[in-house]
């Protein structure tokens, strides 16, 4: 496992540190996978071998066939190509999506305005209203439905396989938060993921498109999954596959440990006055917990925890590039200020979690002492 250099880094929902299996594979593949896999010379065939190996491994890991897998330039790129490609192959243009999809999905939806787009509300735990989504999918002009496997900010798992869709409406699943951590939904037409969220290298997105699905590349370029974003970074794809295989081999063990650690943080955060833990407490991602502290600003929390050696994310507006707070928290009716998202590494220790809990209590107490509430 990783050495202690990442100790205190608790933002793996943004990017997990490179898995040792990925590092090893990447270094070996850099010297072998440099050529263009479309070429017929020896170096090209060598790169092709590595790329096909990466596709086969990733396919097996996510429940697909090797020829259903393509590598994109990032998770966002995979989302855009997957969602817009399903829409482009249909006559309508409307996208029905949950209100808590990742911003990559919402940006793809907003790329082309349509009166047929519809955002489906979620409950206080962040779980989509399945009946409302099924109804919305049956309206005229709907091209595709987008529903994430689990929410990237609050960890709530979405009941994707329980969604009742008409046979002709394709389903796009953003599985970036779930891959390597939970069993995946099986009912999708296209599925996207991002390697650096499971310990693969950055700059590797995965797009899976079912052979039975109608999909047309939405951007300039050839149809087909083999060279999605121009030339594929073959060493990166292979390293991503190696990391995913390694992570999956340890998945249940890791998840059980992280569940217990998250429960410890949940108890600590819940014991702070005026603090609300958000997201489903049971049916959730194993490594992630989110809470909001009343009367405290998110940037002060992030800075205070950083000074004590802990790196966390926040959905509060003051920590974002815009003044708008997290659309996920807003859709759930949760407090948007004072928000912290903690996401554990596969090698986060119990001792580290105890240290975090102590730091959190101290930071919140200090900030509140300064404002007189």
């Amino acid at each position: 496992m990783n050495v202690t250099s990442a100790r205190g880094y608790l933002d793996t929902a943004s990017a997990e540190p490179l898995h040792p299996a990925a590092r090893e594979t990447l270094l070996a593949a850099l010297d072998r996978g440099y050529a263009d896999p479309r070429r017929l010379h020896r170096a090209g065939r060598d790169a092709r071998l590595l790329l096909d190996n990466a596709r086969a491994v990733v396919a097996e890991c996510i429940g697909a066939r090797a020829d259903e897998i393509g590598f994109a330039a990032s998770g966002t790129d995979a989302v855009h190509r997957g969602l817009l490609g399903l829409a482009r192959a249909r006559s309508g243009e409307g996208v029905v999506h949950s209100a808590v999809e990742h911003s990559a999905v919402l940006q793809a939806v907003g790329w082309q305005d349509s009166p047929a787009h519809q955002s489906v509300p979620v409950d206080a735990a962040g779980r989509v209203d399945l009946a409302a989504m099924a109804d919305a999918a049956r309206r005229p002009g709907v091209a595709v439905v987008a529903l994430q496997a689990a929410n990237q900010e609050v960890g709530t798992v979405q009941p994707v396989d329980a969604l009742d869709l008409p046979d002709d409406v394709p389903l796009f699943v953003d599985a970036a938060a779930s891959v390597g951590r939970l069993p995946l939904p099986t009912r999708w037409s296209a599925l996207a993921a991002s390697a650096h969220k499971w310990g693969g290298p950055g700059g590797v997105g995965v797009l899976a498109v079912r052979r039975s699905a109608r999909w047309t590349t939405p951007f300039p370029g050839d149809d087909g999954l083999d060279q999605l974003s121009g030339s594929t970074w073959v060493p990166g794809a292979l390293a991503a596959a190696a990391a995913l295989q390694a992570v999956l081999a340890e998945r249940d063990e890791t998840a059980a440990r992280q569940h217990a650690q998250v429960d410890r943080i949940r108890a600590c955060a819940g014991a702070l006055p005026d603090t609300e833990v958000v997201g489903d407490p049971v049916d959730r991602l194993p490594h992630l917990i989110t809470f909001s502290c009343l009367y405290v600003s998110g940037d002060e929390l992030v800075a205070g925890l950083d000074r004590r050696g802990f790196g966390v994310a926040s959905g509060s507006a003051c920590t974002a590039s815009t003044l708008e707070p997290s659309h996920v928290l807003a859709a759930m009716g949760a407090l948007t200020h004072g928000n912290v998202r903690v996401s554990l590494r596969a090698d986060t220790t119990d001792d580290e979690v105890e240290g975090f809990c102590a730091a959190l209590t101290a930071v919140v107490t200090d900030i509140r002492a300064g404002i007189g509430t």
Binding site: D274, E276, L294, Y295, V296, S297, G298, S316, A317, C318, L323, E324, P325, L329, A330, G333, A334, L335, T336, H337, G338, I371, T373
Partner: protein, 75 residues
């Protein structure tokens, strides 16, 4: 006459801190309006009311177009 607090130009959690300080100053059953241009207030005033057992009455608009969030003190 509704009591009002002016939180124009304040960002989160400023308007919510002011709301928490001001609400005890009005009688139970009366309403208090928070005028705030911070976009987070639209979500955080109702969330605060839910967490604190107060009633969120709804959103109005002040004369200068800034949102005005109305809260009724229940306890």
């Amino acid at each position: 006459m509704t009591a009002e607090i002016d939180c124009r130009g304040r960002v989160c959690p400023g308007p919510i801190i002011e709301l928490a300080k001001a609400l005890p100053g009005i009688a139970v059953g009366d309403v208090l309006a928070v005028v705030a241009d911070d976009p987070a207030a639209r979500h955080d005033v109702p969330a605060w009311c839910r967490m604190r057992g107060q009633e969120y009455v709804g959103e109005e608009t002040a004369d200068d177009g800034v949102p005005r969030y109305v809260v009724r003190r229940l306890s």
